[in-house]
Symmetry: C2
């Protein structure tokens, strides 16, 4: 389905991240695209869940809609035969990662994914570093703490550091390899 | 995020499938919900991809949007440690299933999923029957035929018949079990 070119273009230019530094989702999407192209992994960002209230059927455009709260994590797909699911979290605090960043139904979902043999994690951007923070570590922290945030030193200690690569984007699959090695 | 209750309710009642018989997606969603609740599988329908043109930031409602063409299949998740992805297709012809139902990038995507060790298939509703039609059979047919549709007898022969269950919905996971057994 096509939307008139000029409107589409206006929207696109308004989300041109190049002009405002690196957006976490943008550099993850870049890597996902690279991995699909090079046949390394098949991982996509899920579309944002939208509730549609009103549609103009004459040209199939949405006239009214609202954003729904996601009940799963943002990215999922397959890597080396494994089900992979994760969420991207930009953390602006330098001292700790607030758990309010993650909805309760996302925690439930993550628990199920891990139970069924999938690989679940967060990609956290914090203090100009990028980490894969394992779902198992996240659940362990939540279950054994009453704290409302994860101190940065725990993220540094348990997290798997991943790096931005100019040609790939945020090259997180190397961190997933480390995670898979730990599991075996 | 909440949308005023009355508008939400109006929209919901307009998609009350109970009044017009069984909609394929509806009975698959029912089963997905059942499988998640009973901890059998974690499979969800992906949100419909929407391009957002205009947002009212005062109440975070979408004022203009358009439907994007999906480049992956509609459902994905994990079952018995395996990555699973499929699409639901209602076929109104009684004699053959038109391949125009599947976009070219969906075929490419399916090919990748299978290559990476995932389970990919279609759920086809045809002649009041429901079938799991394996991705491998679909790709084989496409690669070895110039035909633009799959004759019903091939769907009957190669498809794995699945049944509607009043308490579960379309109980497709039994068909996935058959498929997994064939793979081993």
């Amino acid at each position: 389905m096509n939307y008139p070119g000029n409107i589409k273009k206006t929207y696109k230019s308004s989300i041109n991240y190049k002009n405002r530094g690196m957006d976490l989702e943008e550099i993850i999407n870049e890597a996902c695209k690279y991995y699909v192209e090079k046949d390394i992994a098949v991982i996509y960002k899920k579309p944002t869940p939208i509730g549609i209230v009103d549609v103009d059927y004459s040209n199939m455009t949405i006239k009214k809609g609202y954003f729904k709260e996601p009940s799963t994590l943002d990215y999922n797909g397959i890597y080396k035969g494994k089900y992979v699911e994760f969420d991207a979290k930009e953390c602006h605090s330098t001292t700790s990662f607030p758990l309010s960043n993650i909805h309760e139904h996302q925690i439930k979902h993550l628990t199920k994914i891990i139970k069924h043999g999938g690989i679940g994690f967060l990609i956290i951007s914090m203090n100009s570093n990028y980490y894969i923070f394992k779902g198992t570590d996240l659940l362990e922290f939540i279950n054994n703490n009453s704290r409302k945030s994860i101190p940065y030193n725990i993220i540094e200690e348990k997290g798997i550091k991943i790096l931005y690569n100019y040609n790939i984007g945020l090259d997180y699959i190397k961190g997933v390899d480390t995670l898979l090695k730990e599991l075996n």
